[in-house]
Symmetry: C2
């Protein structure tokens, strides 16, 4: 199925991204010869910066609730206020940890609001619509590289039960993020059950291995993986609340 | 850090594994020339089968509790009984779903007990000690292949909040499963905080892309990834209960 194996490389030479930058142009200029099938995995932070999703903390007036919680846990009340604004719902708020459901439906620390790798005095928000970001990147890269390809916008989330963060897909365009093996048969001819694999998350995780956290490599290209076709969307990876025993 | 990129290939030609099989020999015979640094990711099911972790359902006498729950949800009471035996604790038991903490501390569906790809009439348990399995595989493969390498025993788990399953590491030998970036600096010189990446899980996820569920490829080799050194263990990926807001 993946006869030649898969290759993953990080794109070097992409400068620090600023609002209004032509992210497609920066990626295309760094990508070299791309061998289809190819999936571009782009770190959320580069997408958010190019899209201007930066908030200057000096512009933020915290609510009394944000002030109180920040004081109790030694946090910046303005950052807490931005998290509250980005959150559709606070899932857990204890021991200095804010786990929130974002307006998109993602559950993650601080509703995705982050100051690392942000310009001084700013925090970075998640893209307003990561699937739309992925679609724009896909269209732009296909126009520049003349090949059909898929794009994943990734972010690094924590998870219950397991230590450490892992990269996941929050925006997807050009591939089906889930492969459904139900109805197929195992090696004994028995029908496979409850086997839906989140390949977009596995691709995002694979890409993180070459991106690192402080390598300045916001984009990876995965070549040789015959991804499941489909327009796709990252939002289809959100487990509906009524099917989730842990919200 | 990963200058040449990463290559991932599935090993072909490994036959259906049976109890007592020389799994090291089967892997070594299929692996071709291995370019260090190399990580071997081995599916739990192949490890469990080689180690004889199979239970014939006809030998299982279900408890009244297993009978009652199975009847209510249309499950096989003997399978439920095996799950109860493998579980240290049942985390959730509703709507026909059994989520359990295994004796090792993993939280997963059915305490890792699975009938898919099991011989008819049998269910497969997780390895008794996946880290010991990984250590044995590492020692055996290094003796055969004359190279230092790392081994991950992987399994496919569901997770809260997100749809679909993803491959994770349950046994690790020869690499540190977590990279700790805390204390390092971002591109603006600001110290990175709370950034510990679960690279063993990301490697396991990457490997799943070439293993698939019904491809008969229980082993993948990841070459070119400069993994963080350490003896490592899968159990160090278990989030201690007191740090886990979701158990």
């Amino acid at each position: 199925m993946q006869p030649q194996g898969i290759r993953i490389r990080g794109l070097r030479g992409i400068p620090e991204v600023s609002p209004g930058d032509d992210l497609v142009g920066l990626i295309a200029a760094s990508s070299g010869t791309v061998q289809p099938p190819a999936v571009f995995v782009v770190a959320q932070k580069a997408v958010s910066k190019a899209e201007g999703r930066l908030v200057p903390l000096e512009s933020v007036v915290p609510s009394g609730k944000a002030e109180a919680w920040a004081a109790r846990h030694g946090k910046d009340a303005r950052l807490v206020e931005v998290v509250f604004r980005e959150a559709r719902r606070i899932v857990r708020m204890e021991k200095g940890v804010l786990i929130a459901e974002t307006s998109h439906g993602w559950i993650c620390a601080n509703a995705g609001v982050d100051s690392s790798n942000a310009p001084p005095g700013y925090v970075i928000l998640l893209p307003a619509d990561p699937d739309a970001s992925a679609r724009r990147l896909k269209a732009g890269l296909e126009a520049r590289l003349s090949e059909p390809l898929a794009v994943i916008v990734s972010d690094t989330f924590g998870r219950p039960w397991r230590l450490g963060l892992a990269n996941v897909a929050i925006g997807v365009s050009g591939l089906s993020p889930l492969i459904d093996y139900r109805g197929q048969r195992d090696s004994y001819g028995r029908e496979l059950r409850s086997t839906v694999l989140a390949v977009a998350d596995e691709l995002a995780a694979a890409a993180e291995l070459v991106m690192g956290k402080n390598l300045g490599i916001p984009v990876a290209v995965i070549e040789g993986y015959r991804y499941p076709p489909g327009e796709g969307s990252g939002s289809s990876l959100i487990r509906p609340r009524e099917q989730d025993l842990f919200r």
